[in-house]
Symmetry: none
Subunit: 374 residues, 2 copies
DNA sequence: CCGGAAGTTGAATCGAATG
DNA sequence: GCATTCGATTCAACTTCCG
């Protein structure tokens, strides 16, 4: 695999040989070929174990093209459970300790998948509901229209603390409101839906790229490795490549592999500027309070107050602030004057600047900005 | 139980002695007192087995009042599974062959509940998503906002063919479109939320009556018997009585029984079932900016400018826009480049389209119009 | 000009949370 | 060390209007 296949700014020289390939075969046995702790994110769209009896016809007597493939046939819940446990275990071995996994399913299988994930030690972060903009109607009128599917997002371990979640990016993309657990997307159709020469859909359950894009943008960084053990026609690979991530797919059926290979080859990765992840304050360089003093933005002896002028403190040369005889950090003193356990001093304290109160976090922003240009 | 009673419009004199009562005690042992095959619908809101560590504070340092009741403490998944199997078995005995059961839960427990239901022979009809209009935010920014809960609706047996589903009523209530599996309701608050003398909520997880009303209206008929084995403060009973159904509740805690008794006594049954749960015409749906990208109307890398071309920004794949090294939402970046506090990014930013500038609000209009036709 | 009703604005509160 | 919150609801504070 040449580095040229990967976009810039990503760790490329040491990308493993199996990256950005489709491995043919059964996912449990093929996963044994991958090193442990080597992938950042897993997206899995396993067989749903639909239990369909006979044909379903629309009110006009046309026949619904159901999922009746061999790969969705299981003899019992026990057989499906064993299958599920096996692939989840195999996937867990290759997942990094801080990696996360997504599994999508419907009410036919998602409860079994979720239980087994918990039994194996995965730690649930969210269940995400994909609300379909254009779901298939319920033709018999005996149930509610099945208008959603469910995704489970989980970390490899309960103890994982530094899994990737691009909170700020999701929030900014959602008009500055934090992203909820219910997502709204159309199903995969139109030009995006892969068809064969005779116009038949290549895969019965192809997922929309927009769904995968949000999955990947929320829980991975450029250059990460994303594994899809049920690759199908390669939606995960196509979106990963477009977004500057590495993929690895496992698939049994030659037809699907052929379609996915062709599809992914046609994908043009976005330039590196377009895929940069919006970082939250967590990722910004830490600026100690006394940097403000050292840089001359703030003089010792300056008076700090809260936004309403109820409390005041004096800046001291050593980077502490004083109230009466006591001195402490901006955070501890902010907490103490309010009688709270904790306080963010950067957003609590203000200075008087040209007659108006200005939060000292603004001074920190100026320091950071000058750090970048320096 | 006579057939005549089943078709009457209201619960009447020949109802069994245990109907419209609250039975005190543990639900598994108390259910043994009820005759088998005697209830039409079960609604169950079992403990969720939340596994909370320590306190959670809001960004303003106020403390979140968590669910820390004894009844939600289990030693292990195995203990929770045994509890779940026991009450589901007991409930199944008293359910009529054509009866159905609803169980509500969250990702903490719903996968275990669903698996066990399938193992015991219940047959899933739908999973229903309750999308909360006003969920609690995620204060730490480490996950998606947990904005929904899940209900499972199942028949007692796979073979049940004549369970009750008021398809036409649901469709009529939904502006003549089939009722979908995703429902939208506010959480229980305001005057509906039961408070004690000191203003504290009586029950930590009281469900909204609107939710129960749709459950009952969709899956039962007037005069039916509805069992709630975790009665709590009696939402199921209050709504059942109002809608002309019989209820029977089982509850262990005296405080909850007292509150439920008083609450239900104050309920006036409706004289007509023409009252339906109105979904209410929603305001124009909010379209987050990244919907434009996800729908393909706007490509990452596209340049945005203001109407006079003084400022420009780059669209990124994650739904933010970038000016230089900084990225933010369309609104915040619009404000920043102008040096303002706020800005409506939808009307500020434009794209070049066929040689002319087009405001991105026009793209939003296109998305909304395609949502309507879908 | 006074008193009270009625309407408006803004602050404060709080919710099944593996945080 | 210091980052992190959304929407419904209620209540207090204030304004306006009318007799």
């Amino acid at each position: 695999m040449s580095n040229a296949r990967l976009v810039s700014q990503v760790p490329d020289a040491d990308t493993a040989s199996w990256c950005n390939t489709i491995i043919k075969g059964d996912c449990v046995s093929r996963l044994e070929l991958l090193p442990e702790k080597s992938v950042d994110v897993v997206f899995a769209d396993p067989p749903y174990n639909l239990q369909l009896n006979g044909d379903l016809t629309r009110p006009d007597q046309s026949r619904v093209d159901a999922v009746d493939n061999d790969w969705d046939q299981f003899d019992s819940f026990a057989a499906y459970d064993a299958f599920t446990r096996a692939w989840l275990l195999a996937v867990r071995r290759v997942l990094k300790p801080n990696g996360t996994i997504w599994v999508i399913g419907s009410y036919h299988n998602i409860f079994r998948v979720g239980s087994i994930m918990q039994d194996l030690g995965f730690w649930m972060l969210n269940d995400i509901v994909w609300r379909k903009a254009n779901p298939m109607p319920n033709f018999r009128g005996r149930r509610f229209q099945n208008a959603h599917e469910t995704m489970i997002w989980a970390s490899r371990d309960k103890e994982a603390r530094s899994y990737t979640f691009n909170y700020e990016a999701m929030k900014a993309a959602n008009d500055d409101l934090q992203m909820r657990s219910d997502w709204h997307f159309p199903i995969c159709s139109g030009g995006e839906r892969l068809k064969d020469e005779s116009g038949q859909k290549v895969h019965p359950t192809q997922k929309p790229e927009a769904l995968l894009a949000r999955v990947i943008l929320s829980s991975s960084r450029p250059g990460d490795v994303i594994l899809d053990p049920f690759f199908g026609t390669g939606t995960t690979g196509a979106v990963a490549k477009r977004l500057g991530r590495n993929y690895v797919g496992i698939e049994r059926e030659d037809d699907y592999i052929a379609a996915a290979t062709q599809r992914i080859a046609a994908v043009e990765p976005l330039d590196s500027l377009s895929i940069r992840v919006t970082a939250g304050k967590r990722a910004e360089p830490r600026v100690p309070f006394n940097t403000l003093i050292e840089s001359g933005l703030l003089q010792p002896g300056t008076e700090l107050t809260d936004a309403k002028g109820r409390y005041s403190a004096l800046v001291r040369a050593d980077g502490t602030i004083a109230v009466g005889n006591e001195a402490a950090s901006i955070h501890r003193m902010g907490a103490r004057v309010q009688g709270l356990e904790a306080c963010n001093g950067w957003t609590f304290w203000h200075i008087r600047h040209e007659g108006k109160l200005q939060v000292i976090d603004e001074l920190r922003r100026q320091v950071r900005s000058s750090m970048e240009t320096a």
